[in-house]
């Protein structure tokens, strides 16, 4: 059975990026891969929307970046979750849970 691709709700991209990076420093391509992986291959982030979102997150101080050598020895920019980012991630996850709960409750109503 083909996996159903889920549509990304607007605004959740930030949360996904943060989550991805929370497991360890990653470069842009790696973030896309990890999100794909962690979501059970259901989420594919648009390459075009990744970098603007990533830079915005960096502006807000939720991740920090550093140029380092990647696994194949080429120079790549690695992003690490910052302390503020950890807090933000928790906050976003919490509000997401609330949203899901609310919708689930609605769905169960008759």
């Amino acid at each position: 059975m083909a996996k159903q691709k889920a549509d990304l709700l607007q605004g959740t991209l930030d949360m996904l990026i943060l989550k991805a990076v929370s497991l360890g420093p990653l470069h842009g391509y790696g973030i896309i891969q990890r999100i794909h992986q962690m979501s059970g291959e259901m989420l594919e982030v648009e390459q075009g929307s990744l970098y603007p979102a990533l830079y915005r997150i960096e502006q807000k101080g939720w991740v920090s970046s550093k140029w380092e050598l990647n696994e194949t020895g080429r120079r790549a920019k690695f992003y690490t979750l910052s302390k503020a980012g950890t807090i933000q991630l928790e906050a976003e996850e919490a509000s997401w849970d609330r949203l899901v709960l609310a919708i689930t409750t609605m769905r169960q109503a008759t």
Partner: protein
Amino acid sequence: MRLLNVFSARLRALFGREVVIGDIDEELRLHLEMQAEANIERGMPPEEARRAALRSFGNFASIKERAYEVRGGGMLETLLQDVRYAARMLVKRPGFTAVAALTLALGVGANTAIFSVVDAVLLRDLPYPQAERTFMVWEHNHQDAGRPNVISPANFLDWREQAKSFDQMAAFYDVVLNLTGTGEPEEVPAQVATVNLFPLLGVNPALGRTFTPEDTEGESPDTVILSHGLWQRRFGGSPDIVGRAIKLNGMDMTVIGVMPPDFKWFIKESSRTGKPAQLWMPTGLKARTRENSGRYMMSVGRLAPGVSREKAQAEMDTITARLENQYADYNKGWSAMLVPLREQFAGEIRTALLVLLGAVGFVLLISCVNVASLLLARAAGRHKEMAVRAAMGAGRRRIIRQLLTESLLLAFLGGALGLLLSRWCVQALVALSPANLLDAEQVGVNLPVLAFTLAVSLLTGVVFGLAPALEASRVKLSETLKESSRGNAGSSRGKRMRDALVVAEVGLALVLLVGAGLMARSFLRLQAINPGFDAKNVLTLRVTLPYLKYQEDGQVVAFYREALGRLRTLPGVSSASAISALPFADLGSATDFTIEGRPAPAPGDFNSTDVRVVDEDFFRTMKIPVVSGRTFNRQEGAEDRSVAVINEAMARMHFAGENPLGKRIFVTMKADPYPTEIIGVVGDAKYKTLDGEMRPMVYWTPPQLPGRSMMILLRTSVDPESLAPAARREILAIDKDQPVADVRTMEGWLAESMARTRFGTLLLAAFAGLALTLAAIGIYGVMSHSVAQRQSEIGVRMALGARARDVLALVIRQGIALVLIGVVLGLLGALALTRVLSSLLYGVSATDPLTFAAIAMLLLGVSWIACYIPARRAARVDPLNAIRYD
């Protein structure tokens, strides 16, 4: 930490566009590569892999742009973009830009010019090191509290010895000396000072040396220091000037130094010569005692380190109290007052300057209002453009930023033009200003002035740009884009803003005009004051006889009798006379006196009177009326007969209800053992200022109190100046080494005494005129625009039967309604603000209703014309055309 990251990222982005773009580029390329590799691993051929990767990315270039923008690298870029765009917009409408820029240039230019003067006079450091700790030390009498008085050298010596608050105190007074020898004899204004004057001021001669105490030892000092100007002018700037011998007042003096080019030390207030010194002589003040000299010097002191002004004043009070007790006759009721140097120089004109600064501020505001309404009018026509921008994604903030950039660019353009204009204005100001008011070298465009202009331009740009920008960016997208190009009268909010601007303009102009009107009336009143004598057709010239040649009183008296005798024979001279100190020209003397037969006043309370020594023909020459008794006869003019003539003020104050004739007075200055008899009373004459109060005056003839310096007066039946060469010749005929100075007409002296007031009033009037013109132009502009917008409405009205006259009346009525509101607000504002002027006004109250009413009428009249012209144009329009114009 986070903030630092953000800041440094922005900074990098701001200044390192290439770096950042390179950064992003590298990152994205790597991503592409890895994607391509992943594709290859999945089995795609390399070419296919790359293309697929690229495709999955989307629009590479625009992503890069977006990424760059998010990184904040956009700021500098967008600013440059805005500026370029703004410049294009301004160039596209050269007419609009020219008018706006010029209007601003006028406002900014006037402000900068006046600020240059304010800076030079009030703000800039005085050219003496430690000027802030230097004070003039005056005496003042408790009967005349607040008025600085010249000081007694004997008192000065005691102060200097006893005062610890000052680490230096110097005294000086102004004199004139006759310079003879090479070239024509010339009267040189000079200053006699204690040897520490220059060290106190902190300025040393540029050539040679300064005075030392040794210079004052011996009979009389014979060393002098020249001013740079005198050295250049009279001695050709010759380099061997130090050590040269020159002849002053017949005595040989040695030049020991020359002061630097821009050095000036001149206290106008109490200078007996009224001219800045060009030469300095030292004095030791040894021989001055309280018995043999009165008060005539000025003194200056520099605070010791760590001492405050209050402490110094308190110590001086203690010292003067002590001296009061020690020398009660001389010092009772006298104490000392300290005046900061800056206040001494600028105090007189500070109020006037600040008023002028306020006035040009108003002018600038009016220019801003004009430009703002111009912009508003134009904004109404740019609604389409704004709508398109908004549709393309520009946020409201971006639009406002862009419009503000346009305003700021316009403001800077106006500011730059204004700066140029102000340079020219300042030159004109300095050229036209009364003598000794402004120093040509000092007033100019320098760093503080430039900074001021920049700040003003910026502020102006924001002030007149913000409202239109806010207005223009408020766009209802769908409406505007849908609208046909029917001429819209602008949103109602825009119209209200324009109306408010008109009201503001009118109000501001009114306040300024009222101020100028009050000053003008005051000045006219001043001019109309009768000085008590007839100043027309009187030539004056000064002769100062040097002591060496004219040591005996008899010689002095003889000289003047011969001089006047000769001058009386000149054709064209109907009468000739002399006086020790000319009204409105010289500082005269005053003294105290007692009246015979009355109890002597308590020490400290004394009667003071002004005194003048006059030739017996003086009253006839000046046409001062005789009120009772008689004036001097020829004998009394030639010999010492102990007789005096007093003025009405003296009679009123001290002989009220009695007949002063025959009464006798003892006058301290004369130091006679026998009293002087009053033989006549003459009409009051003004001596110092036209608006001053009348002081008592006693007149003597020269044999009683000879003065070496006299002002000769010639009443002429022809043009007074035409007799100047002849008069000079007669004096030289008596003594070929005797210079003649200050040859002018009496009217010239009178005019000069009012020169400052006249200058200030003219300036204020000029600014008010400018404001009126700008306001009128502004009203005209707004009315024209509003009429143009209402073409179709007017057309419809006329098509429906309205006559041209009705349309005219309608338009004008609406315009005048606004003006009326402005006038009312302006009148209220003027009522509140003109009290600032009250210290400058004479004979006119700051709320004079006549002036207020007249100005209001004037403004209404001008505004009516400004409304009438566009209204008439509107009424002339062919209704068919108007309706058709859609």
